[in-house]
């Protein structure tokens, strides 16, 4: 049987606020094009945007890998950066270490990680202080949800 690989990789530049969000727009366009349910596309767009913006706001550079698997969609955002010393604390809504110049732009509400958690079916974060962070999200589409029930 022919196996079609549905995966994409994008680069994300730290502090590049000019292009920030473009990667997530591409992810959204691909899913829309493939005919995924609009509500599912909305959830993926929010989760992907927040992960992308965390690289832009908090890290030096990173990559977003996104794959459509038989049962789900997987997004892995890896960065080289300061890492997260206390993930549980970082997950708390309202907690942010964003510097003043970034807050001025409206980032730093401390809501990004909670937005990811609310919209993804699974969220896994592995971080090494001084090296970087890996955020993995799994999202199950309505169809595969029913299928796996």
């Amino acid at each position: 049987m022919e196996k079609k690989e549905l995966m994409w990789d994008y680069e994300i530049e730290g502090k590049d606020f000019r292009n920030a969000g473009r990667v997530s727009s591409k992810v959204k366009d691909i899913l829309k094009e493939l005919g995924f349910d609009p509500d599912f596309v909305r959830r993926v767009a929010i989760a992907s945007y927040e992960a992308e913006m965390n690289v832009v706001c908090h890290a030096d550079k990173g990559t977003l890998h996104f794959a459509i698997l038989p049962q789900a969609l997987q997004i892995v955002v890896k960065d080289r950066g300061p890492g997260i010393p206390d993930i549980e604390l970082a997950m708390q809504e309202g907690y942010s270490t964003a510097p003043p110049e970034i807050r001025e732009m409206g980032f730093g509400a401390g809501m990004g990680l909670s937005n990811m958690k609310k919209n993804a079916d699974e969220l896994h974060i592995v971080s090494t202080v001084g090296q970087g962070t890996v955020v993995e999200m799994v999202m199950r589409s309505p169809r595969s949800r029913q299928g796996s029930a």
């Binding site: 920030a20 969000g21 727009s25 959204k28 732009m105 980032f107 509400a109 809501m111 990004g112 909670s114």
Partner: protein, 114 residues
């Protein structure tokens, strides 16, 4: 209500995507915190903010918002306008502060959650 009617009623100036004003506005959201808008705005909303940098266009695109009103005399950056043209996101400006923009939208029947 159509975006074009809101523009007329509030005397907004059009900064981008002049060809996209025919869209129906189904609700509204007001906030300057981007993750808050990401979490709580809805498709078809008009978004009232004072943020004029390019990332607002990304948010409007990702959330399928009908348009952005920049309140309080704020002007979009040149890059913001360029990106809004590319993505077809109407940016509209007014001297009115956020509070008054939202008040007028409510009077026109544009509501938030309810």
């Amino acid at each position: 209500m159509k975006l074009s009617e809101i523009i007329k009623e509030l005397a907004l100036t059009i900064q981008s995507a002049a060809g996209r004003l025919d869209r129906e506005v189904t609700g509204g959201y007001a906030s300057d915190l981007l993750s808050d808008v990401m979490a709580h705005s809805k498709e078809g909303d008009i978004w009232v903010t004072i943020q004029g940098h390019p990332n607002v266009v990304a948010i409007a695109t990702l959330r399928d918002l009908a348009g952005i009103i920049l309140a309080n005399g704020r002007q979009p950056d040149a890059e913001t306008v360029q990106r809004a043209e590319e993505e077809g996101v109407p940016i509209l400006c007014t001297l009115l502060p956020t509070f008054d923009v939202v008040g007028r939208l409510h009077r026109l029947g544009i509501h938030g959650k309810d």
